[in-house]
């Protein structure tokens, strides 16, 4: 099997499993509507590093739209996922060497090291959840509530994503040194 085929299949499986987990399980977990978690964004985090910008935005947009269909909130998750895609490109540009940026590896915990991976996930969650809750509220009313919701939900999502990553963690050679 070619590398390209393997990447396609892995990402396809990841998409289906994460979206299913989101709408069946995580949609029902939360502390009233103050805190909820959206670990489906792990799919966008784990797309290959060297994916072209347009393709990244398109996939993020469609992922968001799929989740929106289940949440009856068309556009809200799509906007948040597009913002997350932008953050991904920005974060990649400021932290990675050119040759790593071009590679088609999956940016997992074992490839990138804990420090890089955890900050990548945490700030990504913050951006995604902030845009999500702002677009959902669509006003600056109760802004402190939106901020609190963003922060708590980000921590929640971050922990769940780390748990999921830990399940698939295997130590091997690193792309970048710690």
């Amino acid at each position: 099997m070619t590398t390209m085929g393997r990447i396609l299949i892995y990402n396809g499986i990841r998409f289906v499993v994460l979206i299913l987990l989101q709408v069946v399980l995580f949609k029902n977990i939360g502390y009233y509507n103050l805190t909820s978690s959206f670990p489906y964004i792990l799919f966008i985090f784990l797309l290959p590093i060297g994916i072209s910008n347009f393709l990244l935005f398109l996939i993020a947009f469609l992922t968001g739209l799929t989740v929106d269909a289940f949440y009856d909130s068309i556009g809200v998750h799509a906007a948040a996922c597009v913002a997350l895609a932008w953050f991904r490109i920005f974060f990649k540009r400021i932290t990675l060497e050119i040759e790593v940026r071009e590679s088609f590896d999956t940016p997992t915990w074992d490839e990138m090291g804990f420090k890089w991976f955890s900050s990548y996930i945490f700030f990504g969650c913050l951006i995604h959840h902030f845009v999500l809750f702002m677009v959902e509220a669509f006003s600056f009313k109760n802004f402190h509530y939106t901020l609190l919701s963003t922060l708590l939900s980000s921590i929640f999502t971050f922990l769940i994503i780390l748990l999921i990553s830990l399940l698939f963690y295997k130590r091997k050679s690193r792309l970048i040194s710690k």
Partner: protein, 277 residues
């Protein structure tokens, strides 16, 4: 020209971001204006039937409680029937308003999807236009109100739950008959709601029951809940009251869609008011 092209290529991430973000926001705004007339929501066939399947597994878990509530409803209906049979027709004259007879029909539906912890909550039911469901009908359970039908497809319908900032239902207090409007308020708890706009002179007691008024899409006299807290004032001359809802939104399984046979006539007549004024 070449420089412009290079500029676009250099910052292509930003331009793609702007493009996709604007599309998303347009979707959101259009959706807010037209009340989810878009087809990407849970009343479409793929998502709806997925939720229905999921729910058919989940409903086994709640079988005991469902049976119990059905048995209770049976008992109360039987008791009501008994009252009619046992009624002494000699010393009481029965006045039946024939226009109210058969005014309401009830369509039984199963809940295919439900949410209680979003800011705006919606339900999906497994009955649609095929079964005679129309946009704007009321939805209730055997012990309370649930919400209003928002969108209808052939086999499914979505319902704007009472736990939604846009839902408003006309209610009365049991003893005094004063009118108020029931909203979820700025609430995060699915068990409580707020009754707004009760005149200030009315004395409201804790535990007092609240019923539908019959002015909106629901039949008159359906139990909505009981007063929990009375001290909230909204303004100079109005009073807000916090009530505990009788509907348990977190385990809804069977609901009734209320079909008001006189709704069309009522609306047509009331529309004349606007023409004159």
């Amino acid at each position: 020209m070449k420089n412009l092209w290079l500029f676009f290529v250099r910052y292509n991430a930003f331009f793609w971001f702007v493009l996709f973000f604007v599309i998303s926001i347009l979707l959101v705004v259009r959706n807010n204006n037209y009340q989810k007339s878009s087809f990407i929501n849970s009343s479409n066939v793929v998502v709806g039937s997925f939720y229905e399947k999921l729910n058919s597994w989940k409903s086994y878990l709640a079988l005991t409680e469902t049976n119990e509530s059905l048995a209770q409803e049976n008992a109360s209906l039987r008791q009501e029937l008994q009252n009619y049979i046992a009624k002494d027709t000699i010393d009481s004259v029965q006045l039946v308003d024939s226009i109210e007879q058969g005014r309401y029909e009830f369509i039984i539906a199963d809940v295919a999807n439900n949410s209680v912890n979003q800011k705006s909550n919606f339900l999906t039911l497994n009955k649609g236009s095929k079964d005679g469901v129309v946009k704007g009908m009321g939805v209730m359970t055997s012990n309370g109100v649930v919400g209003t039908v928002l969108n209808v497809s052939a086999n499914f319908s979505t319902v704007q739950s009472l736990l939604n900032p846009n839902t408003k239902i006309s209610v009365t207090l049991d003893s005094t008959g004063e009118l108020g409007s029931l909203v979820w308020g700025n609430n995060i708890d699915p068990r409580y709601a707020i009754v707004r706009d009760i005149p200030n002179h009315v004395v409201v007691k804790k535990g007092q029951k609240v019923f539908t008024s019959g002015f909106s899409i629901y039949p008159k006299g359906i139990n909505v809940g009981a007063v929990e807290e009375t001290g909230i004032t909204s303004g100079e001359s109005f009073l807000d009251v916090r009530i505990k809802l009788s509907t348990n939104f977190s385990n809804l399984h069977h609901v009734y869609i209320v079909k008001d046979n006189l709704a069309g006539e009522k609306q047509a007549l009331e529309a004349l008011n606007d023409d004159n004024g």
